[in-house]
């Protein structure tokens, strides 16, 4: 299990851009994607903000050449766009030349359409268009993305709440390491839905002003949507094809907080364990981490628990920021969205700011980066993703060697 894993391609769509270049330019410009809700009518319009992808579902159908089709949910379309960009970015023209897998993560699947179906179905169980519910399950989005990319060797779907797509990257790396695959397109996709908006609202963890991660006066998260995928390839394949990878996945770890279904433990046990496992695998010392892309949802509970875990491991804590202040919390896509942003940090030598921050948290001694930092040598980035069910995941992404 000692083989090295490289990232040779990335793709992303989020509230701050429909591709890697647009996302990067928004991150550099400090331009957030958080704004008014426009995608669906809801009671919360005007009172709660959201981070929507700036494309209608119809526009995405056009973009993917599926005009007029009813087979694609918003979650699926977001995934298709980002996964295709990742494949192109890795210069892969024919997926069938190697043993290629697709591991996609999602938490809502086709819920955007099932909501409409269910409304009619509740009135009369014989009503509601089946076409609106047939794509409900999580596996549907993955099978359609796989068909769009032409992948059929190994496909599967992961759902572990907000750490889902960090976990699909992790499992992809394990499958390559154990020799079962040569390369994997791994990541996740989630669209915003009325279901998730109301769900998080009942927990009273949505900040009416937009999220303020790691700020003393933070009042919750902001829901976002998006998709992101990375192309993972074995060292052997990268050598064979003479590719220059974008990054190396040097460490990863998943641990369970086993404290509460939704709340994080006060001492950040799960977060501490996930980061420790990832550091052990990477054989890096904490001081070698140049930047941390924190989970940083902006809820009172997460940021405190994560902050305590950071202080337990790092002394001093390296520069860190929550880019959820740009993208919103993209749930099942968040781990991959932030992995792509971490890779951009390495490739561009930049640390992206944590927007909406003004006051340090009184329980912590650490403060996030609030201005864009440029021309830095970023060799190792640690990225955290934590989810319901105490599911805590950490990825460590590193600068690849000059020649593999």
């Amino acid at each position: 299990m000692s083989k090295r894993i490289y990232i040779t391609g990335i793709g992303i769509i989020s509230a701050i851009g429909n591709n890697v270049a647009e996302v990067l330019s928004s991150l550099e410009a400090g331009k957030t994607g958080i704004g008014e809700i426009t995608l669906f009518p809801t009671l919360h319009q005007g009172s709660l903000p959201m981070a929507e992808v700036k494309l209608s579902t119809a526009q995405m159908l056009n973009l993917t050449g599926q005009e007029g089709s009813e087979d694609f949910t918003r979650t699926t379309l977001l995934g298709m766009i980002a996964a295709k960009e990742a494949l192109n970015s890795a210069g892969i023209k024919d997926v069938s030349t190697l043993r290629t897998g697709l591991l996609s993560a999602t938490t809502v699947g086709g819920m955007d359409r099932s909501e409409g179906f269910y409304k009619k179905f509740l009135e009369d169980p014989a009503k509601g268009r089946l076409k609106d519910v047939i794509n409900h399950d999580c596996g549907d989005s993955t099978e359609r993305i796989a068909a769009y990319l032409g992948i059929n060797y190994l496909i599967s779907t992961i759902s572990t709440a907000c750490s889902s797509s960090a976990n699909s990257i992790m499992f992809g790396a394990d499958l390559i390491r154990s020799g079962k695959l040569d390369r994997v397109i791994a990541g996740g996709t989630d669209s915003v839905t009325k279901f998730t908006l109301n769900g998080f609202n009942t927990l009273m963890i949505l900040d009416k002003r937009g999220c303020h991660p790691f700020d003393e006066h933070r009042a919750g998260l902001t829901l976002g949507e998006g998709a992101a995928y990375v192309v993972l390839e074995s060292e052997e394949m990268v050598r064979k094809e003479g590719k220059q990878p974008l990054a190396e996945l040097t460490g990863y770890g998943n641990a369970n907080d086993a404290y509460h279904q939704t709340a994080s433990s006060p001492d950040g046990t799960g977060a501490f364990l996930a980061m420790t496992k990832a550091l052990e695998m990477s054989k890096l010392k904490p001081y070698e981490i140049d930047y941390i892309n924190v989970h940083g949802t902006g809820t009172e509970n997460n940021d405190l628990s994560e902050g305590i875990a950071l202080e337990r491991i790092f002394d001093p804590v390296p520069p860190f920021s929550s880019t959820k202040s740009f993208t919103g919390h993209t749930l099942g896509a968040a781990g991959a969205v932030e992995a792509v942003i971490s890779i951009l940090s390495i490739c561009q030598g930049m640390i992206f700011p944590n927007l909406n921050w003004s006051t340090p948290m009184k329980e912590l001694t650490i403060e996030p980066v609030t201005q864009l930092l440029k021309k830095r040598s970023i060799r190792h980035v640690l990225s955290n993703s934590f989810g319901f069910g105490g599911n805590n995941s950490t990825l460590i992404l590193s600068q690849p060697p000059q020649s593999v």
């Binding site: 009671l43 919360h44 938490t107 089946l130 086993a258 069910g389 599911n391």
Partner: protein, 366 residues
């Protein structure tokens, strides 16, 4: 590094049959005239703290109880909970096709009926797909690796693949592997409109006798404790798993089966029993006959979905059945075999979900 084998050292199963008591083995199979089979609910309070039972959705109760029963069976219930003396599993890996649909429907229904007002969070919290494995982790204080796969007829199979990868590479010395799916009135109704189920009530034990359109709906939860060491209680070795996405021809399937067996050092004729995911649906069963005719003409075979019904993780019931057969070295009478296998060393489970997700699971006598 020597690859760690995966011994199944404990099982726990809740299904439409009397399976929660591991001393029983389908001696009195449940037979009902219906289009759906409901899992037999045990007294959940025997398995889950009462304050937790009250809040939990049914799939969570089934999953947690099956997991609890499995760890008790293996004699490896962990000590932090104050009940056992074992170390508990180092990882929890599960699969579910549709997840916690009862809670999903509840939250969605309330949201629609109350126009997004007066909602409470419990059903939203529990609607998350990884709730079962998270609740197990919480119950036994397992801080290890915790993954949930949610891909139709590959949900449980990917959980097996991940379990084997974690074991083979010594990332975990023990894995609690499992699957759970629940059937609700609404999900049954929706899938009925999609043409999944039989039009007329059918005796489940005769489900495979006559092929028609549709099958019988089912549900259940099954858990397995995988450990690297053989124990007196070992049921079987879980050797390998393979998934085939949407194969078009029988040749494609039999070729993949051949490669699969070959990499495990076996030939088709080494298989003593072929457990098949037949569900009595005329659209989906003929492929099993084609595969038998091409690759396994001499091998004894039987179906298992007449006992558990059809659902996305039904193969987990199949794995439970195969585990029991290998341990007890006998096949229950209810499986109506055309002839008795000479030995019971290797069982191949071949299942497909609606012709799209085909899977192979290989197990051997411990």
């Amino acid at each position: 590094m020597v690859k760690q084998k995966a011994y199944i050292n404990g099982v726990g199963c809740i299904s439409p049959q009397q399976t929660i008591d591991n001393r029983l083995f389908l001696a009195e199979p449940v037979s009902v005239e219906s289009t759906r089979l409901k899992a037999i609910d045990p007294n959940y309070r025997e398995f889950v703290p009462p304050e937790m039972v009250r809040r939990m959705g049914r799939i969570i109760k089934m999953g947690v109880a099956a997991a609890r029963s499995c760890l008790a069976d293996a004699g490896n219930f962990p000590s932090p909970s104050g009940e056992g003396s074992g170390e508990g599993p180092e990882a929890i890996i599960t699969g579910t096709g549709l997840g916690c649909i009862e809670d999903t429907e509840k939250f969605l229904g309330n949201m629609i009926k109350n126009n997004e007002e007066f909602l409470t969070p419990t059903s939203f919290i529990q609607s998350t797909h990884n709730t079962v494995s998270a609740q197990i982790a919480l119950l036994i204080k397992c801080h290890g690796y915790n993954f949930t796969y949610v891909h139709r007829g590959f949900s449980f199979e990917t959980a097996i693949l991940d379990s084997l990868v974690q074991m083979e590479n010594n990332r975990a010395k023990s894995v609690l592997l499992g699957a759970a799916d629940e059937l609700t009135t609404n999900s049954f109704q929706i899938q009925n409109r999609m043409g999944f189920w039989r039009r007329k009530p059918t005796d489940n034990l005769k489900l495979l006798d006559h092929l028609e359109r549709g099958t019988i709906a089912g549900e259940g939860a099954a858990f397995f404790l995988l450990e690297g060491k053989e124990k007196p209680n070992s049921y079987a070795v879980l050797n390998d798993v393979e998934m085939l996405f949407h194969p078009v021809t029988t040749d494609e399937i039999t070729h993949k089966i051949h490669l699969f067996l070959d990499r495990n050092g076996l030939k088709e004729s080494d298989i003593d029993l072929l457990l098949l995911g037949r569900n009595g649906d005329i659209r989906f069963d003929p492929v099993y006959d084609d595969v038998i005719a091409t690759a396994f003409p001499e091998v004894v075979s039987c179906g298992f979905k007449q006992l558990c019904g059809e659902y996305m993780t039904a193969s987990s019931f199949g794995l439970w059945l195969a585990s029991k057969i290998l341990k007890e070295q006998r096949i229950p009478d209810t499986l109506f075999l055309q002839k008795k296998p000479e030995a019971l060393k290797h069982i191949l489970l071949y299942n497909h979900y609606r012709g799209i997700n085909h899977s192979l699971i290989l197990m051997s006598q411990a």
